[in-house]
């Protein structure tokens, strides 16, 4: 299969710019966008073969650098990313992510760091041969009223195309839902040291 890489699609920078207005200045946003909203909030959510989702939360503590450091250690991600089973570090900038897929199985994605600006940006990209073609970027910036705005943007080719995307949505494993929930769990974990649950007992939580 001819795997269409993001560089082939015009480069990660451009794609994520569509997703989040991250790298490119707003004035150079593609498609003649007429307002200042992030591109991912456009009424269409697909750009070429890629679906782009993204969410932002404001986190009051700890500091931006500490938030960055926690995220940068990818082995921490399963603590708040619900569909992430496990992350193994393979080297400085490579890691293998085991992801729970819609329908019960798991898929394995090897990622490498595509961009890193300490305290500000971490971007990762699946390497060739992974089960999923995806890239993600998290950006940490100072909120105007204090705290840190954390923006997560994920671009991916939905497995099995649009039909697959619809099934995933039904199972609530769709990346847009996951991104929102994962970011909120990240905020809970960072601000409160725990993730809220209304379970009354431990074992019922484990079953869920």
């Amino acid at each position: 299969m001819q795997r269409k890489t993001l560089s082939a699609a015009g480069g990660a920078a451009a794609l994520l710019a569509i997703g989040g207005g991250l790298l490119l200045a707003r004035s150079s946003r593609p498609h003649g966008a007429a307002d200042d909203a992030p591109g991912r909030t456009a009424r269409r959510s697909r750009f070429g073969d890629y679906a782009v989702v993204g969410k932002t939360v404001t986190i009051m503590k700890p500091s931006r650098d500490e938030l960055f450091a926690f995220w940068r250690d990818f082995t921490n991600l399963p603590a708040f990313m619900d569909n992430l089973d496990m992350v193994e570090l393979l080297g400085d900038d490579r890691s293998r992510w085991t992801i729970r897929a819609p329908g019960g199985g798991t898929v394995s994605v090897e990622t490498r760091i595509a961009e890193e600006k300490p305290g500000r940006i971490i971007a990762w990209r699946s390497v060739e041969g992974s089960d999923i073609d995806t890239e993600g970027r998290v950006r940490f910036s100072d909120a105007p009223g204090g705290g840190t705005e954390v923006e997560l943007v994920i671009a991916y080719i939905p497995p099995f195309g649009r039909a697959g995307q619809a099934v995933a949505k039904l199972l609530q494993r769709e990346p847009a839902i996951q991104a929102r929930r994962d970011l909120r769990r990240f905020r809970m974990l960072m601000e409160t040291g725990e993730i809220a649950t209304s379970e009354r007992r431990l074992e019922t939580e484990e079953k869920a």
Binding site: T58, M60, K61, G146, G147, Q172, I177, R180, R181, R184, R185, R187, M188, E191, T192, G193, E194, I195, A196, T197, S198, E199, R200, R201, L202, E205
Partner: protein
């Protein structure tokens, strides 16, 4: 343990359910000594609040003794605590602004989405209420799990302050206080309060403490109106009196400076549109009945303040938006930021400046809870406030 569980519309029962456990590090388990039935529990009982499931343990006004603590709880076993009905983390953007009932972190993420769809923003977690607010088990039970126990619970050091004096710090006392605060009461104000239920009575009491010159309470239950009178308020019975006319005449023809809707979504009223709203609510097409609110908007003076502590859950029909705009009314509302007020109000109780015990009409064992709900609903004049005592012999 024994707990009051929701089974369906006007069907609640005391069942045996598993005891709660420490689930998260900041949790505590409280053994309930007193727990009240709230007017908003009747909204659940009547099935007009969405996302309540069979088996849900109700109750959001409770206090008791700490029997277990998680590793990050600051409570100690044996302490007596009153627990705010709003669950708040104390650390998020909203808690930082003391807007505790807007806490971002207390409602589990999957439950946040329901209220986000309905309201545009996710709600905080509340005890014993809808799954829109987390589906947390409530306190009409022998035990309850209290998350973020280092933030909410108010420790009552003085054993001389018995439960009846401090229990209402959990909800209705701060709710009445915040209602008056939202009405921006100034000395010399004429204030009208719709609803002589617990929140309306505490709002009236608070308005008087804040310096209102006249507080007028509107209801139709004679006993409840008598309680208002006992607090130093004046009373208007809407079954006998033209409310707007009376309020105008009692405020020099201007209209009250501030009005408080302490009735909410199940208002009684005789107007045609309220009857229509009742019919819609009965067949489950869900418009909130808002006749008290509509009346308050028409009655308040131009440039006046409207405070809404009454509970609304969805949409309302024929809202007098024109009157709101043209008269330049300021509107403030919200679930109570309980944690913001508890210490101040506890001090006022301890100093004898606020009494809450006048409200309690019945004390019942937990086992009689279902009967309590039915009586509270059907005999509102006599049953002003029921406090359930799980330790009491049935």
């Amino acid at each position: 343990m024994r707990a009051l569980c929701y089974h369906g519309k006007q069907d609640v029962r005391v069942d045996t359910v598993p005891d709660p456990e420490i689930v998260n590090p900041r949790d505590a388990i409280i053994q309930i000594t007193s727990t009240a039935i709230c007017g908003s529990d009747l909204h659940l009982y009547d099935g007009v609040i969405p996302a309540v499931a069979p088996g849900d343990v109700l109750g959001h006004e409770f206090m008791g003794r700490v029997v277990e603590t998680g590793p990050h709880s600051t409570l100690r076993k044996g302490q007596r605590v009153v627990v705010p009905f709003v669950i708040a983390c104390g650390a998020c953007y909203f808690c930082g602004k003391q807007q505790f009932s807007a806490c971002d972190n207390s409602n589990p993420v999957d439950k946040q989405e329901m209220s986000e769809t309905l309201y545009g923003s996710p709600m905080a977690g509340l005890f014993g209420y809808s799954h829109l607010t987390g589906g947390y088990a409530g306190g009409q039970a022998e035990y309850v799990r209290v998350p973020f126990s280092d933030v909410g619970p108010v420790v009552i050091e003085d054993d001389g302050l018995d439960d009846d004096k401090v229990l209402f710090l959990s909800d209705i006392l701060p709710t009445g206080w915040m209602a008056a605060e939202n009405a921006e009461i100034e000395s010399g104000d004429v204030v009208a309060v719709w609803g002589a239920g617990p929140v309306g009575l505490f709002a009236a009491q608070s308005a008087l403490i804040m310096g209102a010159a006249r507080v007028i309470v509107i209801d139709h239950y004679p006993h409840r109106l008598a309680l208002a009178k006992g607090l130093g308020a004046e009373i208007v019975n809407f079954r006998e009196t033209d409310v707007r006319e009376a309020l105008l005449e009692m405020s020099g023809g201007r209209g009250p400076d501030a009005v408080i809707d302490a009735v909410g979504m199940e208002a009684h009223g005789f107007s045609v549109d309220n009857m229509l709203d009742i019919a819609k609510q009965k067949v489950g097409i869900g418009a909130d009945r808002a006749s008290a609110l509509k009346q308050a908007i028409l009655a308040v003076r131009k440039g006046g303040r409207l405070s809404i502590p009454g509970v609304y859950g969805g949409m309302t029909d024929k809202f007098p938006l024109g009157a709101l705009m043209e008269k330049g009314i300021t509107l403030r509302t919200g679930q109570t930021h309980v944690q913001k007020y508890t210490n101040k109000l506890l001090a006022m109780i301890a100093e004898g400046k606020i009494d809450t015990t006048f409200l309690i009409s019945h004390r019942l064992p937990l086992e009689a809870a279902a009967e309590g709900y039915a009586n509270f609903k059907n005999h509102q004049d006599d049953y002003t406030k029921i406090v359930l005592k799980p330790g009491m012999e049935s």
